[in-house]
Amino acid sequence: MSELFNLEIINPEKSFFTKDDVNEVVVPAYEGEMGILKDHISIISFLKPGIMKVFTSNSEEKFYIEDGILEFKDNSLSILTSSVIKYDQLDRDYIQKSIQEAEENLSKDDINDQQRFLISQKIDTLKSVIVN
């Protein structure tokens, strides 16, 4: 029996990435990392900045996503995100710039706890990318 399901990552400009033989997807959901396998219950969840991993039978791909919404239904997983970059295409300059921007945003007074949480998540993720 096959254990595969469909994955589609969509950003506003286009359908960024589609695959129909995915074994497992690990996403940075709002309340912690979440792994999705075939026949998962229908779910809608909110994503935080982080690294998303896609496992197929013989490969593994990683993406950095900045935010997003996840919908899983009838064995197809759609991820809507405003910004997604392939992990190996992240370059140092971009990361440094993003971290700087994020830190500036963090020091502003008019943000709420949730925003603060999301921004610090973003900084942590980006920093960990640099180290690796």
Partner: protein
């Protein structure tokens, strides 16, 4: 009657105009293909977003405490209209059609005694509206400098709208843009984005039992602001495809008209040349006869 020289000059001038319109048509055709592709590629995102929101709003049990972006402020006093137009002219009825549609709506609001606020995106819209509605325009935005339509621009507009909404500057928000149907048809659209109209197709949605993480309210309050930007982005994409399509057909018409004009002028030129020759001949002959 125009002299031969005048006619010659006019023909030359029409011909060079024709060259320009022809070139513009070619450019618009090339740009149209790209814009159309972009508009089509952008559709899944906004459609999916809409579906998720519809699903979510169906799942909300407590309508009273639903986010304000979804249910509205409970009043309908101040209307904000976002009019999306192009930054460049020479594109047929493209801008005029949006403005016409928008003006009808404005008139209705004013007749009802409500307050009207306008944001114009694109300089052509501002130019056309400032005559009548100068004091209603609260903001004008133009993306003349950005070469391609990108999501960041749309997000800026979206954020501005949301900020104003949170400051309780308006109750209802409507956007106006041209929907791209095909090269010759663009349909001016009005779309209400705040509060969200979710009445459409509510019944034929499958009753899915989704699990939500975190809860519905939290997802919704995060998603709705994003949806505003997404809708604006969609409108901008549709608009740019429409603009190029409209320009292409306008320039096509102009090229054809110029061609007709050249033909007509050429005939007139040849006739008057012929007439001049005939006249000269008659003069010579009658001069010879009288001798």
């Amino acid at each position: 009657m125009a002299t031969l020289d005048d006619l010659k000059k006019r023909i030359a001038s029409v011909k060079s105009t024709q060259k320009i319109t022809k070139a513009m048509k070619m450019v618009a055709a090339a740009k149209l293909r790209r814009a159309q592709e972009n508009a089509e590629k952008g559709r899944p995102y906004s459609e999916k977003m809409n579906n998720i929101i519809l699903n979510l709003s169906n799942g909300i049990s407590d309508k009273e405490n639903a986010p304000k972006l979804l249910s509205g402020t409970g009043e309908e006093k101040v209307h904000l209209c976002v009019v999306l137009t192009s930054d460049r002219g020479l594109c047929g009825g493209f801008n005029t059609n949006i403005i016409k549609k928008a003006k009808l709506y404005f008139q209705k609001i004013i007749d009802d005694g409500k307050t009207l606020k306008i944001i114009t995106v694109g300089s052509k819209g501002y130019d056309q509206l400032k005559r009548t509605y100068k004091e209603n325009i609260v903001e004008k935005i133009s993306f003349k400098d950005s070469k391609n339509i990108n999501y960041l621009d749309a997000e800026k507009v979206g954020k501005m709208i949301i900020e104003n909404f949170e400051k309780k500057e308006f109750d209802v928000c409507t956007i106006f843009y041209n929907k791209f149907k095909n090269v010759i048809t663009q349909i001016p659209q009005e779309q209400q984005i705040i509060p969200l109209k979710s009445s459409e197709a509510k019944n034929d949605l499958p009753d899915d039992n989704y699990e939500f993480e975190p809860d519905e309210d939290e997802i919704l309050s995060n998603l709705l602001p994003k949806n505003i930007s997404t809708q604006i982005f969609k409108a901008m994409l549709e608009n740019s495809a429409s603009e190029q399509g409209s320009r292409m057909s306008a320039m096509d018409n102009a090229t054809r008209n110029a061609g007709e004009m050249v033909d007509k002028l050429t005939i007139e030129y040849n006739r008057s040349r012929q007439a001049a020759i005939t006249k000269e001949l008659i003069e010579i002959i009658s001069g010879a006869e009288s001798l």
